[in-house]
């Protein structure tokens, strides 16, 4: 028996499972008020999923408004917050769009498919703007590296990202891999995609033009992830109940590849008036958003939807999260051409309805009207909560626990410093990530200029002119736990710095805000602080937030994850030939540190290795970051610089080591005067970078720094011939004067052994295979 609108009118007192669908009593009452009757079961399904935290941003909206309210004046933003993804002007008629999204809970349930469909979803967001996807990146966070749960989840997540992204033909150019106890039982799997288009190709999700046709195309609709969006993403996941596992969405990257090609071809042929991808909330979301953004009305015949499983009910069809589907609005004159192109790419398509001016979204099922709602009420006018928040009771004590030399013994002898460096570069967070990244294709499409382990990923957009973009994502959640306002800013400035160090000018910001439960006032305080910090810093740096994603309920039981506002910065470089790599190349080139080093170890990798978290995070200095950025971009553009590297996790010692490893060329360096060797080598003060300058450019470079008030201190020289005099003939060596000498082979061995030892053994292979079954 289908619950139609007529039946709903006649049976106002029917009990409805609104609570099971995650709706609150007042939300249910407000649906009844909007409709003037009880909702049909299909309407209830739609409202419940669209009003879920995940789709409606009901708890975060009041805080996210700051990104718009405090947006800096800029001409670069072509499409702002609110669309599938923001669009940024990068010059020469080119625009880029980028966005990062979370797929945390699905990836914990089924690591391979969860991570794979995360890539699929973010890629569809990008193509629905009219852009060709250029590359993907993955910020990943797991519990302790040696925890059984991490060993279960990580290999599957990595295989899923690789399996889907590689098959889709998108280079994976970077990301993050962080291990922290706080993510035990709640890993963070975020996915970023960047795409490019000419200005005239920008498309928006709106159903314009009465009588235009609404086409659903791509994969067939099945029972994937029904309710997943509200159940999986909005309620805390209980690991103890396998029976409660909701059906997981399964990705088909081959279909997605065809969908990309078909979509770009219909867009470029001018056959599309409006377009929307189907992600969370499936047809409910696509139809209501298209209608709400357009003429305001839509008539849909749900029985026309092509099904993979004929037994699905209309409610299930509305909520299905089957992957690899898109929805387009096409004029009647162009529909044949549209269908022809779909056929060329072997993509199934069906007209499911048309645009109306009734102001209502009406959905019929074999002649019965099962949905008749104002689309705005579903898509945009959902509930908004001003959740209570307060500073956690433990915050002051945490901040007071500074890792001073008395509180946390520091290495002081040369030998102890050497071992500290070896411990750091072999720790899971700083060890080589190539066990992960070698499972991703970074070459496909032939435009990858920089990929991990470089500071930023860089992609050439225009092969003729060399115009390119750089992207980086960052977040140190320990900093954010110590001070969420500063922590969010520190995530931003690290990402901003990474872009600049690679030679690109920062232009725009996206974010993926991963937090615990918004119903916990302490978590909500962290969220409010982090969003305010981020918005304030974006305003000061002059780069707008173009969009983002919020993921709440990241917690295991009562324990929320450390606040993790992942920030992605996008920058532009006029000619990728000017990019600055991290590997130094020339013997005799001079190694400089830009910026000031202070005694700042709270939340650092060194403190983390000692099991300590306390104190105040490194000081944020936005004017210094801005100056550093301008200097790094100018130095790259003027050809003054041959290599550069951001100084952050693990400090100068780790940064120099990473540069030497990347180059496979040694160097000699020394501790500058008036600074403690341990502080110089391992402090994580911000607004610093290492710059490598050829002797011929030294004067010009140091004069530029002096003129602009940037401290530039020479502290080393690239030297491939240090082996002979240090007892390692024939080997590349790094020498820290009067402290220690290490060969690059020694460093590489400990740096590269960690992840294979944790995940690469026989045991791991079997686990990959189990989730990799039919790939």
């Amino acid at each position: 028996m289908i619950d139609s609108v007529n039946i709903a009118r006649e049976s106002p007192d029917t009990e409805q499972p609104w609570a099971d669908l995650g709706l609150k009593q007042d939300e249910y009452e407000s649906i009844k008020e909007i409709l003037g009757r009880r909702p049909t079961s299909s309407e209830l399904a739609m409202y419940s999923v669209m009003w879920s935290e995940h789709c409606s941003y009901k708890s975060s909206k009041v805080h996210l408004r700051q990104f718009g309210d405090k947006a800096p004046k800029t001409d670069a933003l072509l499409v702002g917050i609110g669309e599938n993804a923001g669009v940024v002007d990068i010059g020469d008629g080119w625009a880029v769009t980028f966005k990062v999204e979370s797929h945390n809970h699905p990836s914990y349930v089924e690591p391979y498919q969860g991570a794979a469909t995360g890539i699929g979803g973010i890629v569809r967001d990008i193509i629905s703007m009219g852009a060709r996807p250029l590359a993907v990146m993955d910020p990943l966070r797991f519990g302790a590296a040696d925890a059984p749960d991490t060993r279960r989840v990580l290999p599957g997540v990595v295989a899923g990202i690789g399996g889907y992204g590689n098959c889709l033909g998108l280079p994976n150019i970077g990301g993050e891999l962080v291990f922290d106890e706080s993510y035990a039982g709640n890993p963070l799997v975020n996915a970023l995609c960047v795409g490019s288009m000419k200005h005239e190709d920008i498309h928006l999700a709106s159903a314009k033009g009465v009588d235009n046709l609404v086409v659903l195309y791509g994969a067939r609709t099945g029972g994937d992830g029904i309710g997943g969006v509200s159940v999986l993403a909005s309620e805390t996941f209980d690991a103890n109940g396998p029976a409660k596992r909701p059906s997981v969405q399964v990705g088909d990257p081959f279909m997605e590849k065809l969908l990309i090609e078909a979509t770009l071809e219909v867009l470029h042929a001018g056959l599309v008036e409006g377009i929307q991808d189907l992600g969370g909330a499936g047809i409910s979301c696509a139809t209501s958003e298209l209608a709400s953004n357009g003429e305001g009305g839509m008539q849909v015949y749900l029985d026309r939807v092509l099904l993979r499983d004929a037994s699905l009910s209309p409610e299930e069809i509305l909520m299905s999260e089957s992957q690899e589907r898109m929805c387009a609005v096409v004029t009647p004159e162009k529909i044949d051409a549209f269908m022809q192109l779909c056929k060329k790419w072997e993509v199934e398509a069906v007209v499911i309805g048309e645009v109306t001016d009734t102001g209502r979204l009406v959905i019929d099922w074999y002649g019965d009207t099962i949905v008749d709602v104002p689309p705005r009420s579903v898509a945009h006018d959902g509930p908004v909560y001003e959740r209570p928040f307060h500073r956690p009771s433990w915050q002051d004590a945490l901040q007071a626990d500074t890792p001073t030399g008395e509180r946390l013994p520091r290495p002081s002898t040369p030998d102890a410093l050497k071992h500290t460096l070896l411990d750091l570069i072999s720790s899971p967070n700083l060890a080589s990530k190539s066990w992960v990244t070698s499972q991703y294709d970074r070459y496909v499409l032939g435009n990858t200029i920089l990929a991990q382990p470089e500071d930023a990923g860089m992609i050439r957009v225009d092969e003729e002119s060399g115009l390119g973009v750089a992207i980086s994502t960052d977040c140190n959640s320990r900093f954010a736990k110590l001070d969420p306002y500063a922590g969010a800013q520190l995530a931003l400035v690290e990402s901003y710095r990474n872009i600049s160090v690679a030679g690109a000018k920062p232009l725009a910001v996206t974010n993926c805000l991963n937090f615990g439960s918004p119903e916990d006032p302490e978590v909500m305080w962290q969220f409010a602080q982090a969003t305010t910090g981020l918005a304030d810093a974006c305003l000061e740096l002059g780069i707008p937030v173009t969009g983002g994603n919020v993921s709440f309920y990241n917690q295991t039981g009562e324990n929320a994850i450390s606040p993790t506002p992942v920030v992605g910065v996008l920058g532009v470089i006029n000619n990728v030939e000017h990019r600055t790599p991290m590997a130094w190349a020339g013997d005799g080139d001079l190694i400089y540190i830009l910026g000031d080093t202070a005694d700042e170890f709270a939340g650092s990798e060194w403190a983390h290795l000692q099991g300590h978290l306390g104190g105040l995070p490194p000081k944020v200095d936005l004017p210094a970051e801005k100056l550093l950025s301008e200097i790094m971009v100018a130095a790259s553009h003027e050809g003054m610089i041959t290599a550069a590297h951001d100084v952050s996790d693990g400090g100068v010692g780790v940064a120099v080591t990473e540069m030497a490893l990347r180059a496979n060329i040694g160097a000699r360096f020394w501790i500058p005067e008036n600074i403690d060797p341990f502080v110089f080598l391992f402090s994580e003060s911000t607004a610093r970078a290492i710059a490598v300058i050829p002797g011929t450019e030294e004067l010009r470079f140091s004069e530029m720094c002096a003129a602009r008030g940037m401290r530039a201190t020479r502290f080393g020289v690239v030297d491939s011939g240090l082996g002979v005099n240090s007892g390692h003939p024939g080997e590349q060596v790094i020498v820290c004067d009067s402290q220690f000498t290490l060969t690059i082979d020694q460093l590489r061995e400990v740096n590269e052994a960690t992840l294979p030892a944790l995940f690469g053994g026989e045991k791991c292979s079997a686990q990959v295979s189990e989730s990799y079954w039919d790939q």
């Binding site: 295989a159 990257p253 081959f254 070459y443 496909v444 990858t448 200029i449 292979s765």
Partner: protein
């Protein structure tokens, strides 16, 4: 006019734009061929690019061999048309029986993307004549099913007939028998190669430009051809 080299796009082909770029950089004209084409548009040689044709869902390359364009490629290859299959293209050539053996899942089971050292073992093919015999090159390797397998008899024959065109140097990346990275047919005109020369044609984007000679080779061979 420069030689015309066709690049076949199957649904799921990924490195077709890269192959076309490599042909242009080498000085040739790249001609896009579609899997459904029933005409080779007069091309002088064909590249079957990397990717996941038809999703590689049955077996890598297994469905692509039945594409209309492939029956033309197979017919012409048997009478001398130079054909280079890269990665998925190599898999298609083996599935089509233009080349012996097969490619199986990497022995370590992971997809692997890395810069791979190879030694050129034969310069007697139109795709390798621009190399020096024994030359070592570094080009990207990226595959999930790149382990070359064939019977001992076939392997002996390939080596004896100088039909192994490149071998892996250093650690074997995928379990290929006898470190085989690429082979040719008896006539030499059909070559399959697991690593990706088309990703090593520009210093900005590749680890080297060691991939270029594969494409200049075929252009030279075509100029010399009657």
């Amino acid at each position: 006019m420069s030689a015309r080299i066709g690049v076949v796009t199957f649904p799921g082909s990924l490195d077709d734009v890269d192959a076309a770029r490599a042909i242009r950089i080498a000085g040739g004209t790249a001609v896009a061929l579609w899997h459904g084409d029933t005409d080779l548009h007069g091309v002088d040689a064909v590249v079957l690019p990397g990717g996941f044709s038809y999703g590689d869902y049955l077996r890598c390359g297994a469905i692509a061999k039945f594409a209309p364009v492939m029956s033309l490629v197979i017919d012409k290859a048997q009478v001398g048309l130079p054909v280079l299959g890269i990665c998925n293209g190599f898999q298609i050539l083996c599935e089509s029986r233009l080349l012996p053996g097969a490619l199986t899942r990497n022995d370590h089971q992971h997809f692997i993307c890395r810069d791979q050292r190879l030694r050129i073992e034969s310069t007697d093919t139109p795709w390798t004549m621009d190399f020096a015999l024994g030359q070592e090159i570094v080009i990207p390797l990226k595959n999930g099913e790149g382990g070359y397998v064939a019977s001992e008899v076939v392997l002996d024959e390939l080596f004896a007939e100088n039909r192994v065109i490149a071998t892996y140097q250093g650690e074997n990346p995928n379990g290929s028998y006898r470190n085989v990275a690429g082979i040719s047919n008896k006539a030499g005109n059909v070559v399959g190669l697991m690593p990706h020369p088309e990703h090593a044609v520009e210093l900005l984007t590749g680890p080297t430009i060691d991939g270029v000679p594969f494409f200049t080779s075929v252009l030279k061979s075509l100029i010399g051809a009657p």
